[in-house]
Subunit: 194 residues, 2 copies
Amino acid sequence: MDVRTLCLGALMGGEATGYEIRKMFEDGTFSHFQIASLGSIYPALTKLTQDGLVTFVEHEQENRPDKKVYQLTQEGRRTFLRTLLQTRPAEDRYRSDILFMLTFAEEMPIELTEALIDEFAARHELMSHQIDPDNEDKQGSPSTYGRDENGNPKPGCCFVAGLGQAMCDATLKFIRENKQGLLDELRNFKARKP
Amino acid sequence: MDVRTLCLGALMGGEATGYEIRKMFEDGTFSHFQIASLGSIYPALTKLTQDGLVTFVEHEQENRPDKKVYQLTQEGRRTFLRTLLQTRPAEDRYRSDILFMLTFAEEMPIELTEALIDEFAARHELMSHQIDPDNEDKQGSPSTYGRDENGNPKPGCCFVAGLGQAMCDATLKFIRENKQGLLDELRNFKARKP
DNA sequence: TCCGACATATATCGGACTGATATAACGATT
DNA sequence: AATCGTTATATCAGTCCGATATATGTCGGA
């Protein structure tokens, strides 16, 4: 799924600026299973405009840089829906420097190992917080993504959010139950082979 | 973490060809939390050779294309260890087309939703299988990654593998418990708004 | 028995994407 | 007053993926 398709999907929830779209992938609805950087979002929106799949209105704000508020066209909506039906989803891919580094725990000081595990836990704690739609700090947020016109959360979004939450919980539980054991093992390991 | 560092890490477990390194990221020890394609591995190995961090021996095999078996140099080992101690790990990133698509479950036929969920489950089942080091089909595999010289699995690797397993289990459990509920909700949703 | 599919093995390259940087103005914290 | 973070758009160098090419062997099925 290229960034153009991702942008179309993001705009299915209503109008948004490029900056707001990035936030959906950074903090918002999509944050735990997709990413897109500004460096790809802006060119994508330009291309989509040229292709007639989105339009934008320029909002001049006082004492602020201009805003381009993008919106799906009918053809954009149709194109996205068609893509949904036709696309074979690519393989899931999870990248984690921390887990890669922990693979070599024997080769580093135990304090570093512990710090890496703690950071991993902290990030998942944060993620778990970001996923929960009720727990969001933004009460009167302008665009309530993942909800329909009446403000009801959409079943698909709930399912995906729940799944993310379950993954986070499992991760945190595993760390709670196995961190100390690993550190002990490493101490033994190092005592045997200095 | 760039592919060069990833290759150095892969070679910490012993000598390997470029093709074998890719397999570690495709099927092997690193498969559930890092990826690297051949298109980046081969240039990386060339660069590492130029920089003196790895060396290779060309094995001519009968009736087979030549093999370049790479190995860390002492400087390569030192460089990797230094990188381990100095690198701030990048953010974890998880990309899933399937979860993105499921976000729009309301917009597609229920059969497609179910097929996507089933595929998601199947992939995680497979991954769970790949992670388990005891369960590996390759009994006399040439290089036993993740183990020390005596064949004992390394604590760091076990921890990371266990974590991966826990995530898979949680995912599969969530799907078992929530798939039917989602499909029912979607049917209601569609009945109300045709 | 032949054919296609798959595995081993290296190499290259176009196109897509990330991450950094530039610009600009404001509020908040130090 | 100075630095930092936030809103907002835009560009670009460098990195990486995915596809493709090349060469050869094995294995299962029609």
